[in-house]
Amino acid sequence: MSTATVPYGTVEDTTTDSRWTPVTVVATMAEAITGLGTNPMPLDGPLSWCAAQAALAAGVSLPPVGKEWTADLVLPLATWTAPPSRPDPDPRLLAADGQRVWGWACSRAEYVPVAHTVTQIRRRPAAAEMARYTQDRKHHSGLGPYKARDTTMSATLVQEIRWHALADWDGLATLLEHLTHLGRATRHGNGRILRAEIRPGVGDWTIRPWPDPNGGPGSIRAPYHHHTRRMPCSSTRPA
């Protein structure tokens, strides 16, 4: 097991541990964030991507992101535990006590939307190149996987994104060096961050998705898109 990943069944509630500092991360945005309206975007999501970048850059071999499971990367954040909100959680989601699930002590993204807009990504089929390099007689620009596309996605214009967390300041600063973009379609420049900084904590890190049997669809920890992290969630912190 790599030191960059969290061993299964070892996590405990460390939210009262004095080694963690309450912090607020403030990201000043240069471009609109695609898909922000449908994503609570807790800090451990982007931070987990940063941890992967840091590990790969350091030559650490990470286990592949599989369809069945993907490993939890070590983050400089405290951890919480809570009762699972579905009866059959993947055992690898469970904390050290084998009963509760765990997650990272950080809030969802806090922001004031200034305007709502769209991100458009256009894909022109390489018809001229196909004419030259293939022997196909036709190319239909409106059908099939190679058709022309103009994908429109919702985007939100915000000045700042804020997260509150219980963190190790230096470890967090090191990981945030890798954070350049937020949201979807970032390889096309969307959600570009102008600067990200850490400030002494001024907010409530518990404003985030929590497992709740009466909640709606949600995910408890990074990577939030992975189906294994999904379970009913609400904003109410369980006992």
Binding site: E31, A52, A57, G59, T117, M130, Y133, T134, P145, H178
Partner: protein, 303 residues
């Protein structure tokens, strides 16, 4: 050759000064082709809309440049590729089937043999692989954008003027042969064949542009997980789309570049990536040395 990791992310900023009008389309209104604009929050909280060139557009320039460069270096014969491979190289490919398995072995071979695909990201069969390259928007250097410009652009006089100052309009015409010698020649044929002449109509169209002299600021971010090979290949791609002409790097961006639009002088420092000459030499040698393997892996990845 095994891919070797770098240790930190790379940020490559650049400035593009237009020497010809630039058009980046956003549909039409009547005969006018509109300039694409995007919203930006001003420091006082109001929202303005300013022209820009999308990262999507810039990204395609790089992907297509690498594809053409590979086709040229490998001397790909006409008619020798299959459609999914052409789509993969020039457009990034597509998901063509479902599947629960990620083909890690192929991904590793792609990484080793043809790093442009893992630099830019691609989709093939049931796999979608994110690239290590972030291509940012090309933002107009103007008052509305001043707060988000790099220091090199923030002090330009352009950064203190509203975006409207840099907007203009150009027009084009389709030559009307009516009344010309060509028209009389066609008429003669029509008379001979007893055909009815098609009346020609003069066409004029106009487009909103950014005027020459406007400056745009853009950048590229390469994630820390990018390999040394990614850096080299990116340098070659940038050298392809921004060639040195009379000692200055020049790029053609936006639409209608075939009729002279979108030409810009570029100020960019590629040294944070690598030595461009060495990178080009390495990449072209790699392509030639692994020609058959590369052609095979292209077919395999889309299978």
């Amino acid at each position: 050759m095994n891919p070797s990791m770098t240790t930190s992310r790379v940020h490559v900023p650049y400035l593009a000064t237009l020497t010809a009008p630039l058009h980046h389309g956003a549909g039409t209104a009547g005969n006018t082709i509109l300039l694409r604009t995007g919203p930006v929050i001003l420091p006082d909280g109001r929202v303005a809309k300013v022209p820009f060139v999308s990262g999507n557009s810039m990204r395609h320039l790089l992907r297509a440049a690498l594809a053409w460069h590979a086709a040229r270096t490998l001397e790909i014969p006409d008619g020798s590729l299959i459609k999914p491979v052409v789509d993969l190289l020039w457009s990034g490919g597509a998901i063509t089937r479902t599947g629960a398995e990620t083909r890690l072995d192929i991904l590793r071979r792609v990484e080793r043999l043809h790093p442009p695909l893992t630099l830019m990201g691609y989709s093939a069969a049931a796999d979608m692989t994110a690239g290590t390259l972030f291509v940012n928007y090309l933002n107009l250097v103007c008052g509305e954008n001043q707060w988000r410009l790099p220091p090199t652009a923030r002090d330009l006089p352009h950064a203190h003027k509203p975006a409207a100052v840099f907007r203009g309009e150009e027009f084009g015409t389709r030559h009307d042969v009516s009344g010309s010698p060509v028209d009389r020649y066609i008429q003669a044929v029509d008379d001979l064949l007893g055909a009815t002449s098609t009346p020609t109509t003069q066409m004029i169209y106009d487009m909103q542009v950014l005027i020459p002299g406007s400056v745009l600021a853009g950048s590229f971010d390469l994630a820390a997980s990018a390999t040394v090979e990614h850096r080299r290949v990116l340098a070659v791609a940038l050298d392809e789309v921004m060639p040195l002409i009379f000692g200055r790097r020049t790029v053609k961006v936006g639409a209608k570049t075939a009729i002279g639009y979108g030409v810009a002088n570029v100020d960019i420092d590629l040294s944070p990536l690598c030595d461009v000459g060495e990178a080009r030499e390495w990449w072209e040698q790699h392509l030639r040395d692994h020609r058959e393997e590369i052609l095979a892996v292209w077919r395999e990845v889309v299978a």
